[in-house]
Symmetry: none
């Protein structure tokens, strides 16, 4: 990658996939500020992208646009350096590699019969109700696991992103969930009173232990299938012409997880995963790192436990 600095000098440096333009600059002593460290709270990482590349980058998010408006010397190809994550053809995203190598578990999870019956509205209500109650308890423990990610953060950006996830879960998602359940006749007291199912307990305690045993990367790998999988399920169902929305009692659910807000939150987690993996050497070809088998096993197990969670819902069907 070539940087043209303010004084006109060009500097060409290595640009490993998984890093942001800002991070590549910092690794090479190129002077870009980036005061908020990529949390989209400043615009001091403003860069101007070569027109030839401009189209090949992922689209600018709305949040980035808003922040760019505050940048000095805006141009048509202006971007925030912290928001452009490199994904060369030659490089492999760890998330893509995990999905590919755990394809059976991943597919079994995101295309589970529970999901398909949500899509066509055929899921028995008893199953969904059981799922909703367990999901409430899941959210509480899943928040605890993200809090463990705060505990395990060694850099300010990780601290902030993990704390933002806790906040999103406990203040936004949980409230939405409670409100949503009310629409199904379940009060928060009903939710809290349900005994935790084994499939539920197994999943969250596995994630906690992955975090206690390993480092932040191990924990993120175990956390990610939930957020990114739900995002993928929501996106797929909305895009799939076979999905029935009209008159589908589960339409709200589909639109929640397919909606932009949830997609954006998941994307933040994905970028964090790539960044943390890069910081531990799982970049370029993550499969070449000796940690790969262990990391893959965590991801695969989490996917399998998601399957168990769906199955627990289906098994609640009335005889």
């Amino acid at each position: 990658m070539t940087f043209i600095e303010r004084d006109g000098n060009a500097k060409t440096v290595e640009a490993p996939a998984g890093l942001s333009v800002l991070e590549i600059a910092h690794r090479n002593d190129i002077d870009i500020e980036g005061a908020c460290e990529g949390s989209l709270a400043c615009s001091t990482c403003h860069v101007i992208v070569d027109e030839a590349w401009s189209d090949r980058l992922e689209e600018t998010s709305e949040d980035e646009e808003d922040m760019l408006d505050l940048a000095f010397g805006l141009t048509r190809t202006s971007r925030l350096g912290c928001q452009i994550i490199l994904t060369e053809e030659s490089a492999v995203s760890i998330y893509e590699a995990l999905k590919a190598d755990a394809a059976t578990a991943w597919d079994g999870y995101v295309a589970h019969p529970f999901v398909r019956s949500l899509a066509d509205g055929s899921l028995p209500e008893a199953c969904f109700r059981h799922y909703l109650k367990q999901d409430y308890l899941f959210l509480l423990n899943y928040s605890r696991a993200w809090a463990l990610a705060v505990v395990k953060s060694q850099e300010v950006i990780d601290l902030r992103q993990a704390a933002a996830s806790v906040d999103l879960l406990l203040n936004t998602e949980l409230a939405l969930h409670v409100k949503y359940c009310a629409g199904w006749g379940l009060s928060e007291a009903d939710l809290a009173a349900a005994p935790e199912a084994d499939a539920n307990r197994l999943y969250t305690r596995f994630v906690m232990d992955a975090g206690l045993t390993g480092d932040l990367l191990d924990l993120l790998v175990a956390l990610i299938p939930c957020s990114l999988g739900y995002a993928e399920i929501g996106r797929r169902l909305l895009a799939d012409p076979q999905t029935r929305l009209d008159g589908n009692p589960y339409r709200d659910w589909i639109e929640l997880y397919g909606g932009q807000e949830f997609q954006d939150g998941a994307e933040v987690a994905r970028v964090q995963l790539e960044r943390v993996a890069a910081g531990r050497g799982l970049v370029g070809d993550p499969r070449a790192n000796p940690r790969w088998p262990q990391v893959l096993r965590l991801f695969e197990t989490a996917c399998r436990l998601e399957i168990g969670f769906w199955q627990m819902g289906l098994d609640a069907a009335p005889a």
Copy 2:
């Protein structure tokens, strides 16, 4: 304590100190909702207090007033049941007992020469600057310790209150701190670049270990001297006629910690401490519980480490 229920029936129950009226109601199957479990986000715990008692309760906070305004059937002695914490004469608040039994350490902390020289503006700037840099690093690790409190929460209310503390620290306090430091010519990069002083590292790592070793109560006892001590310092300095505000370069600092927002945040933490202690049997006379010596030692050590933190600031004075 006697409850008059909606249908006019009176029910008299035991009212141990340290519990809220809402908690006492729930323990005795008295029908008060309390949907938000005491986090001041609903007003479903609305109660009407007997006039005779009304004056003897602590004053209503502004937040409670706001929420009360949304309650149905408001009266002059309306209160939110979750905000009235019992403190009979016969009962001892654990916080008061800790301060009393660790009086030397506590006083050495809240009336440290560093504090007194903030109050009269005589503190050398170099000391304050050093303190500011270390406090930035402190906030990061202190947030991690509150995140550990999220991890260690077994009830929804603890989960939420601890998560709110993390959020307050990382999103409000840290930002304020960064902004405030900018006024002293210190950028966030300056703050992040400072090496962590031993007195600083010692304090936060001690708190983390208290949390890992013990339960939520142990952790809260180690966390509390910081929040409640700063609140007490701010309150005292503002109330003390000897404090110089005009032309005092540290006026902002005094007004920040003496201000209502910080006081309210600290109060939430205090109520949480009393509630968690009660849930573990340190209620009534906390000193009678076999855990007392251990819990007191944690509190006292944390106060001593606060003294070490102030002293680290003073020691940065130019020769």
Copy 3:
């Protein structure tokens, strides 16, 4: 309880159940040394018991006898003060209270069909083989959980007892297990290669999380059903006339867990539980402590997960 000191003075003090005579002495400033803090490595806690009481105490263990032989001024009613645990009629052992209040789960565990079919030798070999493989993985994680008890120890005696458990598990039990499995044609490589079953993973991760979330007492309560349950199963089967030993392929297993060495190890853990519970105020009537419901839930859940573990073995039966 009345102590007659060396100088002939009598001192009467409260003697809460769950404490040892040595601990009661120390709490009341009575001069008994107890250099090894109850680990049967000194004999400095030597006491002479009143004849009237002598018969009402539990029998002296062989280890205690050996150590007593080294004591100065031995008498017929000599005992080591650290080995006499008070169990007045009026007082309830926390372990007994837990078993009583979780009776359904406890009985379902210790009298599971898997256990009964071990006793009469009717268990299909495939079930036992599957159980053995999973038990190997269980032992590894169960050792990790006892190591967490070391991490969480605040007193030297806890540190030592928990470390002794880790050592017993990893150095004695695991080696025995490996050797024993060899007799069933399973090499250590076979054991290590087996994928961890969900019922297995669920159990140990639940215990780890109980420890991370709570204090040492919470962790011990979650750890104890395994050690004490196996001890009870072994004892019962050996005592039960219906148990078939001759020609029973599972005879070794029964004799291992019913044998004195395992019984003694379990007893150390039981005494530790009572002592740690007493130190947190769950003494006298443990059910009166506000922590009781939470502690009981941990115990009950662990028993249920033991049932799940047996069931996992049964389910491996060939069709």
Copy 4:
């Protein structure tokens, strides 16, 4: 090259290129049979290669495979010692790299004035006594940190090695320490009664937090300066002609840490560090791994805290 003999003892010897592992063993009196003297006609030179090295050796020939099949206790990394010929390696030990890059802190630690005054016997007794008391408390917490390494172990070998360290510390070292202190007139009660000094608390709590925050490698890097540093100090002092042994009151101390038993224990920890580092990609050139700066900082901080520990001893000198 390090051999771990059947009884678990580690022995490190020179490994000149061009020799086979079997030849190196024989030159150093290490007990490997090698009946056929390298002609691939026996399998009595069977060795198990450390996983970290396994991949880096030349591939096994078919003849070697055939002969290996006859070996007793075959594992996945089994080889015939006579067939592994050493080649010159450009690889850097992580331990050597850490010492080199943190040279100032390392040297300040292992050649501290406290150490030099132990060597010539000039250290004031008050300093040594203070050091002994603090070291007792240090050992307790340092054991807890090794127990955290058990908790964080993902492989059986790590579990066992970390548990062996806990055992060594709590059962051998602590007992030796207590006995040794008795010779200086300090009872275990004296040791336990001493308040923990800040320099002491800082060190162990830093290590615990390194473990909670990071993975097993981070924890080992923070743990290792203590064991390996003391081993190096003991070795150096014994080898240094300037060290005075005759009539030196600290002779026992020097001989304890310079002695073979302590050296062997430290060597096991060193080999574990290299293996764990290799398993996370810090092998070959550990400095090329993105984790290097973070890992180096942990090591350097631990060395600095060791300096603080010595200094705490010196500062106890009578005025």
